[in-house]
């Protein structure tokens, strides 16, 4: 049998992000549920979040973020032959989000699939995209994390409605033909803990998202730093050389606790959650796109990504900032 031949490595050519227009402040939430701005800021680190319009879909947001990443990459829609959308909040089970997103972006007949690893979704999708490029099953991949968590939140439940939000982030992944040190996406460290399936879940289509906050906090602050360090080790990167640490924007307290234990004193730690809330699979590419837009990250510098969430699923890799 003849086999495809790929390339040595893959890299991210560009990121793009999209946030819905509507800003919801802590004070606005405090008017309807028993909470307050100070408590929310101190416990989860969020000042405001963005919520999609009633008719705005996951695919709408995926198209926005994907279009920006594509434009920034310099590639044309015709160059993309695989579209992966990481999402756990699609409006419908079928059709998937990826195929319609691709069509609306003018990408003609690419491979297209959705994948669900909840808040770890983007790192899973990025690893899959990198592997597809390296194996030769795709040339250029559009990877998108897009979520409309607001439609699964009980807006009278103060433990969840203060956290979750909507948005999308995207990356274009392309081959690197040259030597290994030019590669831009490091080996993934991924895993799961199915025994903790009951810590974050949505029971059925008529239910809202449930989270056992303290148990998740303990797991995240215990288990993730070693995963993050292992991703550095596999990539041959000393954590001290990281320019940025971009974990899933779950909770600022979790982010700070993991950052302390990773041992990357020079790294800028992403705190996009402050004005974006927890956008699940969208949070990492959204944070990266905004950090790059603000000029906070130098091209070619190293960033450590780690996604984690329901499942429990987690994944981490080091990338070079495009």
């Amino acid at each position: 049998m003849r086999l495809t031949s790929g390339t040595t490595g893959a890299r991210v050519l560009a990121f793009g992000g999209y946030q819905p227009a509507r800003v919801v402040t802590n004070d606005e939430l405090a008017a309807t549920v028993d909470t307050n701005d100070e408590w929310i800021r101190s416990r989860v680190g969020i000042a405001s979040r963005r919520i999609a319009g009633p008719d705005e879909t996951v695919a709408d947001m995926a198209v926005q973020a994907g279009g920006k990443a594509l434009a920034a990459s310099g590639l044309s829609p015709a160059d993309i032959d695989l579209v992966i959308v990481a999402t756990c909040t699609p409006e419908v089970q079928i059709p998937n989000t990826a195929a319609q997103t691709a069509r609306r972006l003018g990408i003609d007949a690419p491979g297209a699939y959705d994948m669900n690893a909840a808040c770890a979704g983007f790192c899973y999708a990025l690893a899959s995209a990198s592997d597809a490029v390296r194996a030769g099953s795709a040339r250029n991949v559009l990877v998108i994390g897009a979520e409309k968590l607001s439609q699964w939140v009980d807006w009278t439940d103060r433990s969840t409605c203060i956290i979750f939000a909507d948005g999308a982030g995207a990356a274009v992944v392309s081959p690197v033909a040259e030597a290994e040190d030019k590669a831009g996406i490091g080996p993934v460290v991924w895993g799961s803990a199915g025994d903790m399936a009951d810590k974050i879940y949505i029971k059925d289509r008529d239910s809202f998202i449930f989270q056992e906050g303290q148990a998740v906090f303990r797991w995240a602050t215990t288990a993730l730093a070693p995963v993050a360090r292992q991703a550095c080790e596999l990539a041959g990167v000393d954590p001290a050389d990281l320019a940025a640490f971009v974990p899933h924007q779950a909770n600022l307290r979790i982010i700070e606790a993991i950052a302390r234990r990773v041992g990357a004193p020079q790294a800028l730690v992403a705190d996009d959650i402050v004005t974006a809330g927890n956008t699940s699979s969208a949070s990492i590419p959204l944070a990266l796109s905004r950090m790059i837009e603000r000029g906070q990250l130098q091209s070619g510098s190293l960033a450590l990504l780690i996604g984690f969430g329901a499942g429990i699923c987690y994944a981490a890799q080091v990338i070079k900032v495009p």
Binding site: S42, R43, Q214, A215, F217, R218, T221, T222, A257, R260
Partner: protein, 84 residues
């Protein structure tokens, strides 16, 4: 070898300084976490996680909520350390 009470107290002081920014010299046995040291439940979880790294003693969530003072944690670690 079992740790002494002073060693545990000193270790706990370092942890609390790092996690909650409370200077170690303020971490005295009679202080309560919530009222005296202004440490909330999430920081308590972080302290428990760090204590496990440092002392090799796991403090589960259900035990954690009963540990109100610095001395309570010291006692818990000492008992667990002896029985380990």
């Amino acid at each position: 070898m079992a740790m002494t009470e002073q060693e545990i107290l000193a270790g706990l002081g370092e942890i609390i300084d790092e996690v909650a920014g409370v200077p170690a010299d303020q971490v005295t046995p009679d202080k309560t976490f919530v009222d005296d040291l202004d440490i909330d439940s999430l920081s308590m979880v972080e302290i428990a996680v760090a204590a496990q790294d440092k002392f090799g003693v796991e403090i589960p969530d259900e035990q954690l909520k009963d540990l109100k003072t610095v001395q309570d944690v010291v006692n818990y670690v000492m008992r667990a350390d002896v029985s380990a």
